[in-house]
Symmetry: C2
């Protein structure tokens, strides 16, 4: 008889009993996570593992505080109903934090997805040097970890979202123009805030794209492009259900693509970057010219700027709608480029694009229809994000949970 082997593992990876055990723990945990409460028998059928193995694996997952038993499960079980298996939300959590131009944010859930923390505080990251900003972020992390601790939950990991180019391998910010950061070793600098918790760093738009895929308006759409209108433009791409990272984690840098060789100079020094057409600074400059922001220059208090625009529009200033129309046109042009290259099903708009969606999207759609390859654009539409400022830190939480599901042995067995 042919014993089931570690069939789906990728060739080349050496398989010893430990790696097989680890992958089977992941298989069972992922199944419970994706299918919801289920009996051991159901888990055995679905995973193809025999009941002896399942029992042993579940015992270990319980000891690691990842799976718990809940009241008898009749549905689908054969013969005597057993207890159902469910994710254990009592002890293991995930934390995502974000540092952006004018705020710090923290979002935390337990393994079962229950929201345990969701805070955002105004902070002038541009006006402070990286050291002071990271000290402040470390305080937010420390406070949130302490809050989770009081609930008996320990974070399995922390993901830090930063609006810039991140060397994900080392957790170093290579450059974050809108923060004025250059070669900042973020992961190392934050280590002391949570000494025993693994810290990873990623681009804010990449993490927000992941959040849209896992829990936003485009939930479950494996091919999507996320665009966020901030001072600059952020972009994250989900392709075939995976975040597109590229060779170094730099993929999706759409803001500084030259879209107009005859355009103005960008804050980055180049000419005609997309950011100079659709970034918030560009809109402010067009809609309220008396706020003389240089292109690519930081816009203080984006919320106030937008509120002021609405005010002036109400007063009949035509430049506001004209500016929004111009942004919509260039947003459509850039979207046509991205749709030709990535062939997504949806382009999710975040940041100020989402706040002005009802006026920006119709203009962008018209331009998209004119410029995009019909075959791809006809099957793709715009959608406004509803995750707000929490998108990136929420995506950070998904990164941590995904890592736990991939290797449950990273969570220690409870000794007490």
């Amino acid at each position: 008889m042919d014993l089931p082997g570690p069939g789906r593992r990728s060739a080349g990876v050496p398989a010893d009993q430990a790696t097989i055990r680890r992958s089977n723990l992941s298989l069972v945990l992922r199944h419970v996570s994706e299918s919801g409460p289920c009996s051991r028998s159901a888990a055995a059928v679905e995973t193809g593992l025999n009941k002896t193995t399942i029992t042993s694996l579940v015992g270990e997952l319980q000891a690691r505080g990842l799976v718990k038993e809940i009241g008898p499960q009749h549905a689908g079980s054969v013969g005597r109903p057993g207890l159902a298996l469910a994710l254990d939300g009592s002890r293991v959590g995930a934390l995502g934090v974000e540092v952006n131009v004018d705020y710090l944010a923290a979002f935390a859930t337990d393994l079962a997805g229950r929201v345990l923390a969701d805070r955002r505080i105004g902070f002038d990251a541009m006006g402070n040097d990286p050291g002071r900003s990271l000290d402040k972020l470390a305080q937010v992390i420390g406070k949130t970890v302490a809050d989770l601790g009081r609930l008996g939950v320990a974070p399995a990991g922390i993901t830090v979202a930063v609006p810039g180019l991140i060397d994900t391998a080392t957790g170093t910010v290579v450059i974050a123009p809108n923060l004025g950061w250059h070669q900042v070793p973020v992961a190392d600098r934050l280590r002391s805030a949570a000494p025993d918790v693994p810290i990873t760093v990623d681009n804010d738009a990449n993490l927000a794209a992941l959040a849209e895929y896992r829990s936003g308006v485009a939930m479950g759409t494996p091919n999507l492009v996320y665009l966020t209108g901030e001072v600059g433009v952020g972009c994250g791409i989900i392709s075939a259900g995976r975040l597109l990272n590229g060779a170094d984690g730099f993929a999706g840098e759409a803001g500084h693509i030259m879209v107009d060789p005859a355009g103005e100079r960008c804050g980055c020094g180049r000419i005609g970057c997309w950011e100079t057409k659709v970034g918030l600074a560009a809109l402010v400059r067009m809609a309220t010219p008396d706020h003389a922001y240089g292109l690519g220059q930081v816009v203080r208090d984006p919320e106030e700027r937008l509120a002021e625009m609405e005010q002036r529009r109400a007063e009949g200033d035509p430049r506001v709608d004209a500016g929004i129309t111009e942004v919509g046109r260039w947003l459509g042009r850039g979207a046509a480029m991205l749709i030709n290259l990535f062939n997504p099903r949806v382009v999710v708009l975040g940041g100020y694009f989402a706040q002005l969606a009802d006026r920006i999207i119709p203009v962008a759609q018209t331009e998209l229809d004119r410029l995009g390859m019909t075959a791809a654009t006809s099957r793709c539409g715009f959608a406004a994000s509803d995750l707000g400022f929490g998108a990136a830190s929420r995506g950070g939480v998904h990164v941590v949970i995904e890592r736990v599901l991939s290797d449950p042995t990273t969570i220690p067995i409870r000794t007490s």
Copy 2:
């Protein structure tokens, strides 16, 4: 004791004995393919399967004509040397064909990679309607399959490369502007040429990108962009070792991205498409203006045009070098866009870009350094393809072989 289970299989896929068996057949075949000849004992150690299982799996792979035994293998084997396992190249092959503007091509290897057919014939696909072109391609397929048959090799599949947008799910060409094709059910039309052989259709540049990754100048580079200069511009992207398809297989359509809002009208009807700057028609128009090709219009005999340019350049006509410089500049601008978005390690140039590489690359590199995000461009360079016109059909062969490695049960057990 904990029996090895089908650990790495993705959650959700129901695992019965048949699927586990199939995945283990794939595991062993892939191991033999990637590691080269190895003993059964070595295969058992590497795959984590026990020897009883290996023996049973190898027996089936032999019966399917996928694996064979070769002379005793001493290296690494313990105790009495056993026979080594190797891919069996005697019966199972793969066929890739291509229809392009002015030629048809066919490339075939056996499972072990031995080249069995490599032919290219001039054919005016633009001057013939799709029906006649596919009839001619069917003849090429029929002849090649017959040649393989005489060698005792049966193709496990056929991949058809077409320069256009392909609905890969149905094998239909949605649109191929340079062939004048629109909604052509290629797979269905070719079925009769090889009734029992599965036929898939894909974009020529996508397949060429795969060929570069598997066997070209960028072999083994998991993040690469392939650009080919033809009448238009073809683009294929390999990201994290996978061909980027997008939601419908339309990803990588770089040729009709608007790079110059103030540019000329493209053959597609849009303004300032990248193709109008770097396509062969654009170069011919700049270098030899008396050949008045309309933009996006088909260039007859590309080889003759290029030879003629070299002739005029030798005669001292400055317009040739000027045209090549202008193409190089716009190639660098487009490459900057693609590198910002995909963060590849290398941009492989095919088609006429490769033929003029020594003059185009320096100009493109200068423009790239000026316009691309430094972090990504500094770790990426250009490379000229050496696969020539065979790239797409060669990539088609890799697609077929990959499918066999993924599911060996698609190859029937020899009854004789």
